[in-house]
């Protein structure tokens, strides 16, 4: 069967995934051709704004790796379809004359609606739909000061966020008397407006734009019907969308009066061999401008095309949960109370606005509006969709919790059929089933079911369901460190710090049991080091250390160690390079350049370590802490000193940062990097702490990771001064060291952090926890007490004594045998 698909957006892509999956199950052979007028395959249009807050086009990609190759699909990028002939059953594209099909699928999405305003074709007028649109806007914004968005709906506010992220003075112009008039009522709209204005954007409602003309103080001017005007450099139209049905229309396939390709419940158009899905489709006179209904259509169409008739598209819930310019806004079901006899309850304190719409008998929830606090969205949506009987006093659901009272929305109230993830069609029953199959974390659930992987809105609710199901199974949701301590690492850290505990003996006798083990001892050692920064090889600490820390070197598979001296920022003098080479030659060490701009010397026997270090210290080196769960390195590019493109001195900053945090013990290793410009040669976005120079200062990225599970770092703050940068890193590291689990890298720490990056940003940049000064003072204390561990070690006879293989002989370990390979010694 030859299948042609027009459009590779999120819905088109979902259709392909469903199609190849079900075709494989059925053993059906499909020859699939996909036409995509954009230059790249499907990406997450819902998250488009994040393109300006640091995400790249690659981050937004939603196509699984090698998807098209693996399934033998033909993808024609940059190839717009120009016409179809439903009688001859061929598609004509910009590059191909006649591509025959047996079945054709429209997934053409929609176009931005641009109102009839004179001057709308001017140079500075844009729409907001594709990555290319965004790139064009960004390029023009670089030479602009003011931007105005025409449209105060959902998409308009998204566009406004983008302009703000580009650093423009931002205006929102709305025709209706309030923002988001489709989803919100007057009071909610007013509250939202206040919040958005507090964030620095100006809102103009009830403004009918008549014309765009030459400006007086800016490049352009919006002229309104009431005679007023607004000066702006850039204009972005974001006043709604219109289904892209022009190809169907031209081919004589039935479309609706106000646009949209008409489909039945199988997503077939008037021509049974032609389907339409997503925003371009019109079902029962309605179009669906959200991704969840599009995904449902994609599945229905894919299955129907393969001969499965049962599944039907029967409309979809249009509830939405959004974060608009940082403000939570939710609209559920019949938010306006248009059902006959509907009653409403409203609670507002001018910070949040919550409204319930209930049936005349007050038994069921019909809809809701939430502004400023989205926590109740999941539960309220479930109550609406499942017709769950309301408690006696429905207002309790939105009133703030007072002591003694409690909210009645528990996950146990929900039936198994309750759809939790509407984007990916995952029910409560499926989540429970998956948990019974052994899944115990949200991360694992995401992998197993795709739940919470699209908009992510259902994440917290899914987590509650996982925990409730685990509890039901009698699985204690335990974060105990090990059998010796019934505490999490975070709790132990607190106990150690608050009670001034400095030895493992005291810790285990007061808060644990038994003798300890190789889990809790290194964890305790790390906590002591973070809190008190005493030499880790003091007799009271030495037994707690993992062998790497115990010998201040990295154990290799043959029992020898490798040595990595610190090379701050990767900058090293020729004299030091020579010294390193001389030492390596003298002790017959294998040398290799590490990925972190340092030099690793391998093959040192335990008794050689102090001798090697004596030479290195004499040459001016100090410990690189490659053996510790500690700061490793701060990688840097060469920066403005040499580079034609560098805008800041990245090497100097890297050295400053490395010398500040060197030796800081943490739950896991910490890697950092500083890039001197946006070309990012130091790969800072793959590090726990990444710093990228801008014209105005430094952008700070956090919680990136290479390794087994790479994670792109999140932008925490922009355009920081040197001092602000250090202050924020102090706070960030302090929070991580205090609250992360044992062996938890910053990336997983963030993924498990309630509230995610937003919470972290508030804590670090706005000091929302009020801990800022304390964290900075703690860090300063640490910095002031830094000493090179190797220097201390070779000056302390009782420590040096342990650096030998046999307690009763000076012979070396006969088990260590080397052979030569490519001119160096390696384990035999």
């Amino acid at each position: 069967m030859r299948i042609a698909v027009i459009g590779n957006g999120m819905v088109g892509q979902r259709f392909l995934e469903q199609l190849v999956r079900h075709a494989k199950d059925k053993g059906a052979a499909c020859d699939i051709t996909v036409f995509c007028e954009e230059p790249r395959p499907a990406y997450d249009r819902v998250q488009l704004t994040s393109f300006f807050s640091g995400k790249s086009a690659r981050d937004l990609n939603v196509v699984p790796e090698k998807f098209f190759e693996e399934h033998g699909l033909t993808l024609r990028l940059n190839d717009a379809v120009l016409g179809i002939d439903p009688v001859a059953k061929v598609v004509r594209s910009a590059r191909y004359k006649n591509v025959p099909y047996d079945k054709l699928v429209f997934a053409t999405g929609s176009n931005p609606f641009v109102p009839q305003v004179s001057g709308r074709d001017r140079r500075d007028c844009f729409v907001y739909r594709t990555i290319e649109d965004l790139e064009t806007i960004a390029a023009r914004a670089a030479r602009a000061r003011i931007g105005a968005v025409i449209g105060g709906g959902l998409l308009g506010l998204e566009a406004a966020k983008a302009l703000k992220d580009l650093g423009l003075e931002t205006h929102i112009v709305e025709f209706a008397p309030r923002l988001m008039s489709v989803q919100l009522d007057d009071s909610a709209g007013r509250l939202l407006r206040g919040k958005i204005e507090a964030l620095g954007a100006k809102v103009h409602v009830a403004k009918d734009t008549k014309a765009i003309a030459d400006g007086k103080t800016a490049r352009n001017q919006l002229v309104f019907s009431d005679g007023t005007s607004l000066e702006t450099d850039i204009v972005v139209f974001s006043a709604g969308i219109r289904p892209r049905d022009e190809l169907a229309r031209a081919a004589g396939i039935a479309v609706g009066e106000r646009g949209g390709i008409r489909i039945n419940s199988h997503c077939q158009t008037a021509n049974p061999d032609v389907y339409a899905i997503g925003e371009c489709a019109l079902w029962e006179g309605r179009t669906f401008g959200l991704v969840a209904p599009g995904y449902q259509m994609a599945e229905v169409a894919a299955r129907h095309l393969l001969g499965e008739m049962q599944l039907q598209f029967l409309g979809s819930d249009m509830s939405t949960k959004l974060k608009l310019m940082g403000v939570d806004v939710c609209s559920i079901g019949d938010a306006h109370g248009s059902t006959a006899g509907a009653l409403s309850y409203v609670y507002t304190d001018e910070i949040v606005y919550k409204k319930l719409v209930v049936s005349a008998d007050r038994k069921s929830l019909l809809g809701a509006i939430l502004v400023g606090d989205a926590a109740d969205y999941g539960p309220l949506l479930q109550l609406t969709l499942n017709g769950v009987a309301l408690p006696e006093h429905p207002e309790d659901l939105i009133l703030p919790v007072r002591t003694g009272g409690g909210k009645g929305i528990g996950v146990d109230m929900l039936p198994d059929a309750a759809l939790i993830c509407s984007c990916n069609n995952v029910s409560k029953g499926q989540i429970c089933e998956t948990v019974r199959g052994g899944v115990a974390t949200l991360g694992a659930l995401k992998k197993a079911t795709k739940c919470a992987t699209s908009c992510g809105g259902c994440g917290p609710l899914a987590k509650s369901i996982i925990d409730a199901e685990l509890k039901k199974q009698g699985v204690a949701v335990s974060n105990h460190l090990c059998e010796h301590f019934a505490h999490s690492r975070q709790a132990l850290f607190h106990l150690v710090k608050v009670n001034g505990i400095r030895t493992f003996q005291e810790l285990i006798s007061r808060h644990g049991k038994g003798k300890g083990c190789d889990i809790c001892k290194p964890a305790a050692a790390s906590i002591f080091a973070s809190c008190w920064n005493e030499m880790i090889l003091k007799p009271k600490h030495a037994p707690l250390q993992d062998t790497n820390d115990h010998f201040l070197a990295n154990l290799q598979k043959d029992g020898t160690y490798s040595v990595v001296p610190r090379v701050p920022g990767g900058e090293i003098t020729p004299a030091k390079l020579v010294a390193l080479g001389e030492t390596a030659k003298k002790f017959g060490l294998y040398t290799k350049i590490t990925g972190a701009q340092r030099i690793d010397l391998f093959g040192a026997r335990v008794e050689q370590l102090p001798l090697v270090w004596k030479e290195l210290i004499d040459a001016g080196f100090e410990s690189g802490h490659a053996y510790g769960k500690a700061l490793r390195t701060v990688k840097s590019c060469v920066g403005s000193t040499w580079c034609r493109y560098g805008v800041q001195d990245s090497v100097a900053m890297a050295i400053r940062i490395e010398q500040r945090y060197r030796g800081l013990r943490a739950p896991h290793k910490i890697k950092m990097a500083v890039s001197g410009c946006t070309r990012e040669c130091a790969e800072a976005q793959g590090k726990d702490v990444g710093v990228i120079a801008t014209e105005k200062g430094w952008n700070l990225y956090v919680c990136g990771n290479g390794g087994m599970k790479p994670r792109h770092a999140d932008l925490l703050a922009k355009d920081l001064s040197d001092e602000e940068l250090i202050q924020y890193i102090d706070r960030f590291l302090g929070l991580y060291v205090r609250t992360a689990d044992r062996l938890q890298r910053t990336s997983t720490w963030l993924e498990n952090l309630e509230g995610g990056i937003e919470y972290l940003r508030k804590a670090v940049c706005d000091d929302s926890l009020g801990l800022g000064a304390e964290l900075e003072a703690d860090m300063q204390k640490f910095v002031d007490s830094y000493a090179c561990e190797w220097k201390t070690a070779i000056e302390t006879p009782e420590i040096l004594r342990r650096f030998r293989h046999f307690v009763n002989s000076d012979e070396p370990d006969s088990g260590v045998v080397f052979v030569e390979e490519r001119g160096q010694l390696v384990p035999a």
Binding site: E483, H484, G514, K515, G516, C517, D518, C520, K521, P522, P539, A542, P543, L544, Q545, D546, T547, H550, F551, L555, K557, D558, G559, R801, R802, H805, F806, V807, N808, S809, E811, D813, G815
Partner: protein, 113 residues
Amino acid sequence: MRVCGLEDIVPDTGVCALVGGEQVAVFRIGEKVYAIGNRDPFSGANVLSRGIVGDLNGELVVASPVYKQHFCLRTGRCIEDASVSVPVYRAVLEGIDVRILKLGEANVLSSAV
């Protein structure tokens, strides 16, 4: 034979002793001493004396510093893999002297590998 004094072993750590050409890991837990073979059977490296000691379900163990399997200090048995064990030696404390009885002598409790 005497391998070292008690004060040569930091409490709750181990050292390696050369006993009749064999490598023996000797551990000090409080005022008691234990000895097992120093060779980690999983990696082949002579490093068990450098592992962290502790207890699991009440049994004294050392964790191999290479791949972290646990070996019982009294029996030499590997906790994670019952088919693997390391030799056990008799370690005794005479006054402040730590003595290990030589391999092959009747006092060797077991020698499974």
